[in-house]
Symmetry: C2
């Protein structure tokens, strides 16, 4: 007999371990007699009453979900407007939850999603519908307030540091007669956390990356070119990590792909090749550039064990908080100590998380603006520690699960999402 | 007492496993009482008499070399001219070999390097200098004639297939409200081997990559856009793998980065964003693109076991051939059977390898030009099979070795390489 129904939905850009969290939610809910539905494509599916019955998935499938990247139920970039702007949408949301007797709503996402979960909680209360809302943290950008880190970041950070290390060994071997400068673009719209993570590859000033371009530090072309030239003359070659969110001194993004996403954020891309081209045209050095893009946030094969453990733990804690009746909270990660690295999960009010963007602290960036400090290293290194390797098949590929995603029968009339 | 001196040098673009070959060479040479010198930055170091004494490296370092990417002694892009054009250069080469009593010259590279090794062998004979020259195969492009595959390709292929699989799980989850088309650019100047390898990720027509753009198939814009649109309408999203060497119907590269390398090859890059931009402007779909560049050929953390085993085996065989007095040959990989996958190493004359580029067979490409056939799959899959994982440190990074690279004392006058 079910002790109630829990609805889980994924939101925003997915990560290598958001499904690890999903697996933690489902396994814990099952162990506690809860039924788990999932929103197909996040809150969009909830509004459309496109729900997935996760009880149709085998225990083996849920175990495999733990090590499968992407968002198994689909995610979305869709932000609910304020109650004043679109009251009908919130009413619809409550209608759907009520129709399926959902008592627990878990929303797995970043800042915008914490905001949504918080609003849904307030509105359910205003409508007199008994609902527990829990935000579950996730984002490779690591920009959520309150929590020590965000699940998804550690694995993307590990990917970034390992890729910088490996590609730079390549550049070093080619530098005498070929490539002298290598530029790798990393994600991070407004916060240089992943750019900083690239810095973990360097254990000395002569090791790559020699220069990190943070979104927090306005880009000065002449100073940068002089720094590159100095490194090439000293080391023989130079590796640069550049954040997609790098800005000019007057605050504009260096590279704007043109489009905007559903949250109104400018879609970035292309600053890597731009910086490489600048080096080539101004300094004449042969260059190569890489833009891993989605590869860096989906590389489950290179997941950090710390990250996977934390991703599971926030999922597990979210269900436990829900069962305790804790409303409008998010399980966050609290670091107990750096060395030995110890952490625990604790609840934080959603209101404290929502829409507060956590940028890189000043004392994490080296004085010259091009590298990370020991403080940054002490913070970052434990997050990429350990490996959480998926099983591989005889075909040489990781064995990732594709869920059946059996739809729940609709009970309500169709609903068109007006403002899409 | 040394049984003679062997000189090993790396050439051209390095791979995730060229050092695995180097480790195979050094370990086998040591076991057989040979002294091993290495050219610093390949043939350039030999000409400059910049040689490295590998006997200064510990057995542990050589074991770690097996799993370290990049070229440990430095590689180069430098092609010797013909004897007629630069006789002095060949004389210098023989002078250096003679000065250090080198009796075995092992040159680890691609087509151009096989050609160089072949020429050096002929010239040594012409000069009456007793020298055994062995070419050792290497290239992620997989375009060497005679051998079943080239060490380096299997690991780059595995990286390409895994990256396509992972990133596409990401795209699939975002497609409802965000990214609908994902484009990944892969290496391969003239041959679509790595593009084909991306196809290993798809086990059905609805799985990624849905479209592969091969350098062997001229790009037809209208046909391509129609194919993308059809996939998006059927599947909801579309992943594209595009070769850096994609050409227009009149034979021009779609993207030319402008520069040329030392071999006179055009330096490519940027066709990935170009194709993505085309999709966006013509079809209006939100897109993301990735260009892994050097990441795909240096990802030792994701090396294929088949590839690592073969890389070691060609290094080991090269030394054994040398000791048997086999001159102007290359140890190549001969496939004995697909299932079970069995292979062996056998010698091939360098003259048969040199400067013959092996492109993708017609029957490896699907009739519509956008995918791979079962024949291709049967060939490719064994090459990415198995994992050869490096050890990881407490810092969360693979433990890669940096050799001491102790220089050998010069015995000759300085030499400037004239035509650089």
């Amino acid at each position: 007999m079910s002790k109630g129904t829990l609805l889980y939905a994924q939101s925003g850009g997915v990560t290598a371990v958001i499904n690890t969290t999903a697996a933690g939610v489902i396994a814990t809910a099952r162990a506690n007699g809860l039924k788990v539905l999932a929103g197909r494509n996040g809150i969009i599916g909830v509004l459309r009453e496109e729900l997935i019955d996760t009880s149709k998935e085998s225990p083996a499938a849920i175990r495999a979900l733990r090590h499968t990247p992407g968002g198994a139920f689909g995610s979305c970039r869709y932000k609910l407007k304020s109650l004043e702007e679109n009251r009908a949408q919130y009413e619809r949301l409550i209608d759907v939850l009520r129709a399926h007797d959902v008592r627990y709503f878990l929303y797995n996402g970043g800042n915008d999603s914490a905001d949504t979960a918080n609003k849904v909680s307030q509105i359910a209360a205003a409508f007199g519908y008994p609902l527990i809302c829990i935000g579950v943290p996730k984002t490779v950008d690591n920009d959520l307030a309150v929590t020590d880190t965000c699940p998804g970041f550690g694995s993307a950070a590990k990917y970034t540091a390992v890729s910088m290390l490996e590609a730079s060994l390549d550049v070093a071997s080619m530098s005498e007669s070929s490539t002298k400068v290598f530029v790798m673009e990393v994600m991070g719209r407004h916060a240089g956390w992943l750019a900083a993570a690239a810095g973990l590859a360097a254990k000395s000033p002569d090791e790559a990356p020699h220069i990190i371009l943070f979104p927090e530090i306005p880009f000065e072309e002449e100073k940068f070119l002089a720094a590159v030239d100095k490194v090439v003359k000293r080391v023989g070659w130079c590796s640069v990590a550049v954040s997609e969110g790098l800005r000019t001194p007057d605050g504009k993004f260096l590279a704007e792909a043109g489009g905007k996403d559903a949250f109104g954020h400018v879609q970035l891309g292309g600053v890597g090749p731009q910086i490489a081209q600048l080096v080539k045209s101004k300094l004449g050095y042969k260059q190569h550039w890489a833009v891993p893009d989605y590869l860096q946030r989906s590389a489950r094969h290179l997941a950090s064990k710390t990250d996977a453990d934390q991703a599971w733990a926030v999922g597990e804690a979210a269900v436990k908080y829900a069962l305790k009746g804790m409303n409008a909270v998010m399980p966050v990660i609290k670091r107990v100590s750096d060395a030995p690295f110890r952490w625990k999960i604790e609840p934080a009010p959603l209101s404290k998380v929502a829409n507060h963007e956590k940028t890189l602290p000043k004392n994490f960036i080296r004085k010259d603006g091009y590298g990370i400090t020991d403080k940054a290293r002490a913070y970052l290194e434990p997050l990429i520690r350990g490996e959480d390797v998926p099983p591989y098949g005889k075909d040489g590929l990781p064995v990732y699960v594709r869920l059946k995603n059996v739809p729940v029968k609709k009970k309500l009339a169709d609903y068109a999402i007006a403002d899409r």
